[in-house]
Amino acid sequence: MADEMRILLRNYGKIDPLKIDDYLAQGGYKALEKAKAMSPADLIEEVKKANLRGRGGAGFNCGLKWSFAYQAQADQKYVVCNADEGEPGTYKDRLIMENDPQAVLEGMAICGYAIGASKGYIYCRGEYPQVVEILNEAIEQANAKGILPGFDVEVRMGAGAYVCGEETALIESLEGNRGEPRFKPPYPPNEGLWGKPTIVNNVETFANIPVIVERGADWFASVGAAAYPGTKIVTLTGDVNNTTFFEVPTDTTLREVIYHFGGGIPAGKKFKAVQVGGTSGAFIPEANLDTPIAFDSMSQIGAVLGSGAVFVLDESRDLVDVATQISKFFEHESCGKCAPCREGTMRLKDMMTKINQGQGTAKDTALIEKLGRVMSYSSLCGLGQAAPSPILSTLKHFSADYDAKMM
């Protein structure tokens, strides 16, 4: 059976996160030194070859993304760390920032060197005020030691908007505006913060960078699933014995996550469903539990890896009730910029509430399926595109729960 493999959480419990000397004693900032001895082009090639794919949920090749910003010509470029971790059931970025903030700064500084950016921002969600303090302290200590010459990092705090996890909405918020997503293209590596080339990467993505530089692309590419190498921090919630976190190679299966790491379902109950990737993910039935927790394998079963949140439900749970609660979430978090999402999330919530109260008919579920399909391809950003997924997947795999509530 698989074991944990701590790459991202390599310093977890081993260092005092508020003492930079502890980080340095573990070999911290050696990777930045090594990176700076390489040419930016070679460095980007190495990251590309490692096949590190964005850990925020989109799974884009990180080195390739960097190469776009590297090629862009501009007087100023920016590195932005997406620490707006709002996907319900997820706290991996908080774990990394609370326990190893310097690793995030080192990853950002390496990116800054690679693309030619002298300024970095960490956009941390407003729900994590204690993390903001840790990050500010970490930056102060790094600056006091002169470890980040020519690279200035600032922390900005969000104010409670799930949509700001979307990179262009995040950029709008950094600029002091309403956090509404932009039309793409142009993409941020060409035109991002204040119109300048900008790399927005997730906390977990940046935390992988120093390890890749230190141990090499070939080593990283050999860990876990070939198409989505490395490790993933999974956070387990719901009906499992161990509601905690684990860092595992990406070829670990869902079954291993739930039964081996998670310790199975409490009180002798049977498994019913698991939602992976946070509240925007699909619900997965027992038949698909042997799927590895890698980007492409999850897509193949009509689900997403997303943030790596794993929300388990036992046989006693009513999926209509859970999906209704989730539909309220999306209605609340839709920013309102595009009609398919603004109107769609509201109608989904109305129809789900009606069904959940025992007032629904087959006509409602047919309408939900049609509306969900339209939203998935016509919404401006990932929020509206993914919002129907928990509902559509429960309709598909757990229709008995709906049938039981029909008028």
Binding site: E85, G86, E87, P88, G89, T90, Y91, R94, R125, G126, E127, Y128, P129, Q130, R156, M157, G158, A159, G160, A161, Y162, S173, L174, E175, G176, N177, R178, G179, E180, W194, T235, T237, G238, D239, T243, T244, F245, Q275, T279, A309, F311, L313, R317, V322, Q325, I326, K328, F329, H332, E333, C335
Partner: protein
């Protein structure tokens, strides 16, 4: 600190508007209309734009509310862990409904989405500080810390 001095600290910070609103709210527990108008003047933006930003983010309040803001998570992991009972207990204990403040101005009660502490559900926060594995019986002690 005077209102204008709070705002002036962020005037020259690129994109500093949201940081300024955070700072005002820390002082007043909400964003008074005067403060929004003053912020608009300092940042040289229309008041409608500043108001639009303030209303966009769920952590900002444009109506007066209690000094200690209690937020209860209603995301799915907290929901199935019994958040509904915690909400009912909080409403009973404080004698107010979600979205209201106590008459003495000590507490405000609000919903929030996930606060990223899902290892110990249900979770509530008071002024941003998380409390874990909350249930109807532990609420009394938590509230007592702020009375």
């Amino acid at each position: 600190m005077k209102l204008v001095d709070i705002i002036m600290q962020y005037k020259d910070q690129p994109g500093g508007l949201i940081e300024a609103l955070h700072a005002i709210q820390k002082e007043y527990s909400y964003l008074p209309e005067d403060a929004i108008l003053e912020t608009a003047r300092v940042f040289n933006k229309p008041a409608s734009e500043v108001y639009g930003v303030a209303r966009f983010y769920s952590m900002f309040s444009t109506t007066p509310r209690g000094k200690n803001v209690i937020r209860i998570c209603e995301s799915a992991p907290c929901h199935i862990a019994g958040a509904v009972e915690v909400i009912a207990a909080l409403e009973r204990e404080l004698g107010i409904k979600i979205g209201e403040s106590t008459q003495d101005g000590v507490f405000a009660l609000e919903f929030t989405e996930c606060v990223g502490q899902c290892q110990a559900t249900p979770v509530i926060t008071v002024n941003g500080k998380p409390y874990f594995d909350v249930n109807p019986t532990t609420i009394t002690d938590i509230l007592a810390e702020y009375k």
